[in-house]
């Protein structure tokens, strides 16, 4: 069959009952400003790390909110904590502390 460049996404179900709801609850305690994130993606657009590698803060925060935290451990490490995202954020989310909070929770859960 000729390749038209189209693919079919694998079926994917976000089961909020089974997902990890603990992490996001704890993050909200540690850094409440995650609640006001509108997911605009400015943080990712300005990210220093994202220039060199795939590091998507917007996606990361979305995944944490949904409780899909299984593969995030490696990703979080890529952040250089430079703080550009925090200055660029139109909502004033304290992004640096969101990341620090997530990594703290991961350590605590170990």
């Amino acid at each position: 069959m000729p390749d038209f460049g189209y693919t079919i996404n694998k079926q994917r179900v976000i089961d909020l009952d089974k997902n990890d709801g603990q992490t996001v609850r704890r993050v909200r305690q540690l850094e409440p400003s995650i609640n006001i994130c509108i997911g605009c993606g400015t943080c990712t657009a300005t990210c220093s790390a994202n220039i060199f590698t795939e590091f998507n803060l917007r996606q990361l925060m979305l995944l944490v909110t949904r409780g899909e935290t299984a593969n995030l451990r490696k990703d979080i490490e890529k952040c250089m904590l430079c703080g550009k995202c925090m200055l660029a954020c139109p909502r004033g989310v304290n992004t640096r502390n969101v990341l620090l909070a997530i990594s703290r929770i991961f350590t605590e859960n170990e």
Partner: protein, 598 residues
Amino acid sequence: MQERLSYDPFVLPFTFGMVYIIVYLIVAMARVINALPKEDKQRLAKGIFSKKIFISIKEIFLECLIHRKIFKHNKWLGFMHMSIAFGWFMMILLAHIEVKLYAPTRFNLPYYPIFFRYFMMETETTLRGGLLFFLMDFFLLLTLTGVGMAMYKRINKRRFGMRRTTRLRLGDTIAMYTLWAIFPLRLLAESFTSNVSGGSFLTRGFGLVFENFVSNPDHTLPIWWAYSIALGIFMVALPHSRFMHIPTEMLLIVLRNSGIKVEKKNKGIATISIYSCSRCGMCLDPCQMVSAARLNNRASVYFLRQVRHKEKETENTANACLMCGRCVQACPVGIDSCAIKQNVRDQRSLPTGTEQQYSYLPQPIASEIKPEILYFAGCMTHLTPGIKQSMEAIFKHANVNYQFMDEKGSICCGRPLLLAGQTAAGERLIETNKKIIAESGAKILVTSCPICYRAFNETYNLPIKVLHHTEYLERLIDEGRIKPQKSLKNFVYHDSCELSRYSNIYKQPRNVLRSIAYLQPTPYDGKDGICCGGSIGSTLLTSTQRRKIAIDAANKLTEKQPDCLVTSCPLCKKTFDNTTATDVKDIAQVVKEALIIE
């Protein structure tokens, strides 16, 4: 003079307090000095057995007794502290001289000098204690004046140049009120016995009045008991209150003069610094988290108290701090609270990251052409592209052979990670950047960001010279490589914390700005520089709190309505944008505009 008695049970509370405090201090000092690392112990030995000890003694006299730094801040506040400390010290000293002169056999009794007037009586044959009695009364009056001022300060602190004072803990309250009670009680006690023991203008004067009520010295015992109990309570409460600074500050001065600095861990000199905090509250007014964002509990005085009493909030207070260093600047004791905060941050249990965490970063490419200047813009400068464009234009105008190190995106200098307590991760970034800098072969590294500047200067140990662009611009102007035109504009310059207070770069930007415009002085020049509120030092402050600080700072700086508020830090510039109607520009942009570029 002649001895009347040598012992009375009322001396017991005082003696108990004195034994308690001496044992406590000896044990505490032994533990603290034992906790010092080996090199510091050697330094301390050198500091004690050399000329340095004289500098220390002079400083102890000037700071612990006279309180010179507080005098510089406000003369009334200085006089209040001086009168209590110096007056009390002189009374203790003179009392010992009295005992040595009139009752030398009793010199080994610790309570004897303190209650001298109760135990001794006047005779016709002596000098009637004339001069010494006068001096004792004089210093008692001085101390009483100080206590009176301290009481008045509770009502009207603004008279003493303070807008805010520290809230007290239970231990502080007990110690403070007993301290206030000691001197009036002493006056009463000595006045009541003055018809037997003699006295000078103060005690004898009151004594003449009191004689009408009680004339038998044995009937004045209750007041001597009260005096002794007050002293006893104060000395027992002292190690558990803020007055612990009285003994520890002396040790801190000796250690500091021996060249010992706060280590990576909060023990040794850090412990002494924590206990040396007198909670005078002089760091409250300079702290912008307190004055602008109304976060009272975040001031250094409360942080040091939280560390000392191992309170839960310690970590949050350490993380909230902007690390601007204004409290360290204001501290009359000279406590480096920022270093202690950094230690608390370093000790929290955050993951250190794996070896490969930054393996995605590009490897350095060795270049054939060795540039004269390696320019590192820094992450923040990429957010304010006007600065890097101006710098490039200036480089080209001055025909500088430069290489733009992070044109295609910055690798962070690592300082934000270090400040957040992620030392291992920060060091990985430092290694990566070091390789790139070494490969470039440049002789001078110019950076636009004071955060990076400080990291390069203090933690990188680079073999090449590091300049901030303010320094480099001054050099270019001095060498005549750029000739900016002077205009009639009015500028105000904002000192960024990292560049001014921490790196001592005050003159260079001002020289540059004076060559292109009129530079207005502000009350926040130099060491008194204010923080813009955007500092990456804090991980906890919310954007609202930061904005409050930024608006407050911008208002203060633009009070005289300058044409332009000039910054030298991209982060300050970004933070000040949209907080004031005045133009906010970086020094590089201003210089570029003053150049005639074809």
